[in-house]
Amino acid sequence: MTSTKRIALVTGASRGIGRYLAEHLLGKGYTVVGASRRSAEWEADGYHDFPTDVSDEKSVVDLMKKLRKLDGPLEVSVTNAGVASMNAALLTPASSVRQIMDTNLLGTFVISRESAKLMRRNSYGRIVTMSSVAVPLRLEGQAAYVASKSAVESLTQVLAREFFSYGITVNALSLPPIDIGLTQGVPKEKLLKLK
């Protein structure tokens, strides 16, 4: 009898929260596929690094093609890749808003959709999207980020209903600020208030 390992996909796994999530899932016995724009600066047994731009649909489809060639079913997908920009709304260019929406919202949508296509085949899957405590706090200076994460929460709720009949659950994880690259632009006093 051959043993196939279960696969977990983590976007934004090259560093920060994504890396820790990937390492956690490796510890749980998963084969982990990491997908970030940049190559991961770390390696581990069972970890596959497939550089991907989650805001580019074709890049995600290519990622899934590579993932399908691995031995085992995709059971977990964590749409962790995200970007933020600390700036007053009055000074935020539309290009920044678009970039944030493309990565945080569009990226979450496309990764979830493509993951569900694979998970559907085994009638089992767990998709975890990433929201933020900045959403309920309506954090000033993070208008685009908060809007994108609010959209991710709504998206998660709709996907949960659509994918339920395929045996796939979709849940959002709302995290407090964690000392990683994404919070570098947030003043320390604001971070303390959020904790």
């Binding site: 489809v61 093609k65 296509k117 559907r120 009949s165 395929y166």
Partner: protein, 109 residues
């Protein structure tokens, strides 16, 4: 090679699986049987799975097409109405994707 015969065989196999999942049989089903509308063979949920499975099966053959688009949905005659119509539509998409780079090339030169 992806031609109409190949596509119909692939689609019929995907449809058979979807029908089995909903407790129905492929018996009596033809390439002209309705996929959508009040007399549709499958539930709307199964129809979504069928389209996704066809896309993935084509991907396995290195054929990348997106079947559902605004353009497809706005056609007066839906390309999703039967397997026969759907296979014609897929061939149309493949043909368009093959001719696109050539057209760009000739414009550049």
């Amino acid at each position: 090679m992806v031609n109409k015969e190949y596509l119909l065989k692939l689609m019929m196999s995907v449809l058979e699986e979807a029908l089995e999942d909903q407790g129905s049989s492929i018996e009596g089903v033809t390439t002209q049987s309705p996929l959508i509308g009040p007399d549709a063979l499958t539930t709307s949920l199964a129809f979504v799975s069928i389209i996704a499975d066809i896309e993935m099966s084509l991907e396995d053959q290195e054929v990348e097409v997106t079947l559902v688009s605004e353009e497809a949905l706005s056609r007066s005659q839906s390309p999703f109405r039967t397997l026969d119509a759907l296979s014609d539509y897929v061939l149309e998409l493949i043909s368009a994707s093959v001719s696109e780079p050539t057209a760009t090339k000739s414009t550049d030169s």
